[in-house]
Amino acid sequence: MKTLIAFGILLFIALIGSIKLFNKIKVSSCFAYILYSGTIYVFFGLIVGENGFNLISKDIIHQLAPLINFSLGWVGFIFGLQFEIKYLKRIPKNWYLTLPFTYLTSFFTIVLFSFIIFNYIFDGLVQTIEIALGMSFVLAILLSESSVSFISWSSKFLKKEFLGIRICFFISAINNLIPIILTGVIFSLYKYVPASNIISLNAPKNILPHFFIQLMIGILSGFFMFYLVKKITNKLEISAVLFGTIFFISGLSLMFHFSPLFVSMLCGVIFSNLTHRHSYFIKILNPTEKPIYIIFLIFLSLKKAIFNKYIIFIAIFLLLVKFSSKLFTFKSLNKTKLSPFNISPYFSYILLPISSIAPAILLDLLCSYPQHSSSIAQGIFIIALIISEIFSPLGIKLLKIRSKND
């Protein structure tokens, strides 16, 4: 009974969030953005959950896991649905060649610095070199990501910077796609043994087959879903079949230690490119995205995370690393002949917030690797998320000033 009440509470809060009561606030302050982006629910989760007053018990959080498992699959599917080749072809080819670097440079830099931190500076935080490496990968995946909603919010204040904003939207799409793929890789690289509560590297011979099976399940389920809904015209029946398939895939993923986010995203990509009713499906499914996202934010902060001075230090340090590496990439790309554009490197300021797909990725990992090191990653992420959002409006202001000066 408590489970349902807890889920009901989550739904109600998600509902209030999705009403967008605060949409009309035009003030460019961090408070306004925290309300707009939904990060306010992180504070709510911190207060009522295991990190605060413990009003929602561990049991309930545990029992909500299947619903979170499904929601992860659902978000992955909706995300994958947006990758329609017909649309992607309209984007200049050299964007594909250059813009992934905006993610990858940050990713590798954060991996490097995190590894140094966990293996040499605060080596007491994690037990083995394997886990230190895994933690570095996870933090790099999460922190290199850029928030789509912040770019959307920034566009209100940067109406003259049309091209820059358009490129930033594209970058943030890439910055969300690559992390999901890398999450799939993490699931193939690391296994979790519940009996001994140990995370360890998979045997090298198993890594590629595991990743290949994830890939195939995602692709085949895309075909499966397409054939199932091919002849259905009734919108209501379509929703039933989509729900059923995503539940099935997410459940299978959980059983075989696959990433539901990654597998469902692949399903969405395949389905999106097979069906002729792409925009119709997007229209049906998009309204579900916001409430699920809010549920993720609350759930993420409900679960016990580790917070201490080291965690805060690491979060701030890694954000600075991200900030510098993005700025460096923009400057470097502008200097190369490869670059298809010449926009101000200060656009990298608005790529700082990290709240798009990252909470979903972290939950995906927390559900499959419920171990001490995951709670450390969770703590670092929550601190980084809050800090990046507090400073986010400053990014817009700085960008405006720098652009004027240039």
């Binding site: 489970t3 054939y227 059923g244 997410s250 299978l252 309204p287």
Partner: protein
């Protein structure tokens, strides 16, 4: 063809997973729910081709993949997913209430009253006598005294009176028929549920007196009255909340209805209030006493297909055919006599109300399905009567299983029958 293939693929995947025998990971509610939804939907779609209602397909799929069939999902899965039944039942009841229009209800009031009266009376007396007459066929009561046999007969008779509002509504929604007949059927089925709640409480006490049980609860009628009046008031309040939300906030209606249904089931059930009744009243209030009826029904239509699939496939998964196997002859006797008395009761009631021929002759086939409420009552009997309770509950469940399988196609048959066009009031 492609759907059959997809169903085979799903079942094959299920068998592979089951054969892996990893019990810990096999108890995965997300996977089980996906399997139930897909198997339920595809089977529903397949049986439509032979003109059966899709819920029959969903029930059969549930039996097939469930823990008493191919065991592709475990009993724990079914138990875990029963949580969703609460949500589904609330949504179904809300829809049922919204389907009843006050004007139509008033117009049909005479017929509703007469059919309810005669159906209830004839089934109560008839089934009790059947049990007494055929007592030698029932080994678990044949050696008992006549008073205990009458008690058992009375309990079976009360439960036999019930029909399933959820099944009735699901078939009506699927056929997309909205006319005087659908309103008549829904009104009778829903009102009957309220009457049976009272009857069962009284019947339970009479049976306890007859069997000289020392667990007689003198306050049971008062408690029932309290529960039903409490449910009525709660229903009006919930209806009011829905109206306020739909009128002033408007956004994200699906999330609102889902959250409200979750809350209602989980808050009212522990208070011994009847969620089914509460949500029916709420739906009725929104439909008939506000301008938000259309908005509510449109929202419910968006949620209902997955809800029906989950609800009825889970119903199927919980069906244990071993009950039927052990008591098939007795089951058939009760099912046949129940159907006969439903026919007689409906015929006499319709004749008194001067109803048209189709109502007199064929309406009875709409009342055969049985589900939730009857199952709940069977459990109460099992817990209250040590001499025959367990066996009687098995018999009742077995009868419900048969009625739940034959009921939906017969209801669809009635709805599909050509009828005289309705004459509208000038």
């Amino acid at each position: 063809m492609i759907n059959t293939l997809l169903l085979i693929i799903i079942i094959a995947i299920g068998i592979i997973i089951k054969s892996s025998q990893q019990i810990e990971i096999f108890n995965n509610a997300t996977y089980a729910l996906g399997l139930i939804m897909l198997a339920g939907y595809i089977s529903g779609d397949l049986v439509k081709k032979i003109k059966l209602p899709s819920i029959t397909g969903s029930i059969l799929a549930g039996i097939l993949v469930g823990p008493f069939g191919l065991e592709l999902i475990s009993i724990k899965n079914v138990d875990d997913l029963q949580l969703l039944n609460g949500l589904a039942l609330s949504i179904i009841a809300l829809t049922a209430g919204g389907e009843i229009k006050l004007a139509g209800f008033k117009k049909n009031l005479k017929t509703i009253n007469y059919i309810l009266l005669f159906q209830t009376l004839i089934i109560l007396v008839g089934i009790t006598f059947v049990i007494i007459i055929f007592k030698d066929f029932f080994p678990f009561i044949s050696n008992l005294g006549i008073q205990s046999i009458v008690a058992a007969g009375l309990l079976v008779a009360i439960i036999s009176t019930a029909s399933s509002p959820s099944t009735t509504l699901a078939v009506i929604v699927e056929t997309k028929k909205r006319d005087r007949y659908t309103e008549l059927i829904l009104s009778i089925v829903m009102l009957k549920d309220v009457i049976i709640l009272f009857l069962f409480c009284i019947g339970l006490n009479i049976a306890k007196i007859l069997t000289k049980s020392n667990m007689i609860n003198k306050n049971i009628v008062f408690n029932t009255f309290f529960e039903i009046s409490g449910s009525l008031i709660s229903g009006i309040v919930i209806g009011f909340i829905i109206v306020v939300y739909l009128k002033f906030i408007k956004k994200d209606r699906i999330v609102f209805i889902l959250a409200l249904s979750f809350f209602s089931f989980e808050i009212f059930e522990p208070l011994h209030l009847h969620t089914l009744l509460i949500m029916m009243i709420a739906g009725f209030v929104v439909e008939n006493f506000s301008s938000e009826g259309d908005s509510l029904m449109k929202t419910l239509e968006l949620i209902s297909p997955p809800v029906y699939i989950i609800f009825f496939t889970l119903t199927g998964a919980a069906i244990n055919l071993k009950y039927f196997k052990s008591l098939w002859l007795l089951t058939i006797i009760i099912v046949l006599f129940r159907a006969l008395f439903k026919y007689v009761g409906t015929y006499i009631g319709s004749a008194f109300a001067r109803e048209e021929k189709i109502v007199k002759k064929h309406l009875w086939i709409s009342f055969l399905s049985q589900a939730g409420l009857s199952l709940g009552m069977a459990k109460i009997i099992e817990n209250n009567f040590s001499f025959f309770g367990e066996n009687l509950a098995v018999l009742i469940i077995s009868v419900i299983v048969v009625n739940q399988i034959i009921g939906p196609p017969l209801l669809k048959l009635f709805l599909d029958k050509p009828k005289e066009p309705e004459i509208k009031d000038p």
